[in-house]
Subunit: 190 residues, 2 copies
């Protein structure tokens, strides 16, 4: 697994922030490194809730040292009651990635569904089932936020072959990412 790309996927949220770390090899095979949920108490002031999320994300970054961070993109049109908190949590996630010197990307829910199931309008259960199969898990990852975080991480690794708007240019890759991209190209030539 020397050429595996390690991706931290984040499903941002204040009450439950899903985190999933996967190693994805050049042949696109993937394995689970870590999955979990960071929770913050709804009684806390917003700043302290964000600090709880930040502390949890820093712990995951320190322990698992991903090469890249992928965050689900938040839209203003989504559920109004929680969208601002979700956006604030995503801001914290993107800030921490940058402060750790890691490239960060965002993916929309339909990009994630399409990457995992081949179908942008897939049901959540289909996505979770496919994530469990790809990672050879005995059960569906729980709660849903954790499963979503794994799906975002897999989506990011699998989409990297196809350059996308706003994606980092090759020159902006870390040495590990460059090695992985080269390994991927070599695998494609075989």
């Amino acid at each position: 697994m020397t050429s595996a790309l390690r991706v931290l996927g984040i499903d941002p949220g204040l009450t439950r922030c899903g985190v999933g770390v996967v190693d994805v090899r050049a042949d696109r095979a993937a394995s689970l490194v870590h999955v979990g949920v960071i929770r913050s108490d709804t009684d806390l002031p917003i700043g302290e809730r964000l600090a709880v999320i930040a502390a949890g994300l820093r712990a995951v970054l320190a322990e698992h040292r991903p090469h890249v961070v992928a965050v689900e993109r938040v839209f203003a049109q989504q559920n109004r009651a929680t969208v601002m908190g979700t956006a604030q949590a995503s801001g914290v996630a993107l800030l921490l990635a940058a402060e750790h010197g890691l490239p960060a990307a965002t993916h929309t829910p339909s990009e994630v569904k399409a990457a995992i199931t081949g179908y942008g309008s897939a049901e959540k259960l289909q996505v979770q089932t496919m994530v469990a199969r790809v990672l050879r898990l005995d059960a569906l990852p729980q709660p849903a936020d954790a499963a979503d975080a794994l799906a975002i991480a897999l989506c990011h690794a699998w989409r990297r072959g196809a350059p996308q708007a706003g994606a980092a240019a090759d020159g902006a890759l870390t040495p590990a990412q460059r090695a992985w991209a080269q390994a991927e190209k070599a695998a494609a030539r075989r």
Copy 2:
């Protein structure tokens, strides 16, 4: 000015994040400590833009050591093109306040206008004119984001007499804030 409350007001934004620091005395007289705008390059990835904003806010926190932070509240209904970036920047501001052990509050634009001019639908120019008068400035603070940040800071100091939903209870005040609250009560009895 030993009993002055020092407030950092933040008008969150990715392209321009307004910051204003004011000292407000128990008799509600206010003076300017610092005003400025933190800018981030629109060409940078979002995470790096948030890191630029965070670095600028940390510098202001370290240099001016406010007692409390007040941030303009963002709504999903506002301008869709920029609202997510604004929410992410506000999340970073609230995170940094918490990580510096400072209480943080949010105020809506109409709360700010009402606190400064007595009228929640006041024009921006009225608010800026009043801010300049209160702080005895020779000219209107520029750009508008800087003026807004000062207005948010003044709003927060002046509204503290009236407890609001979600505001910190007295027990959550810092020693400096408690001293200020006591001085304010003493001034009101005179």
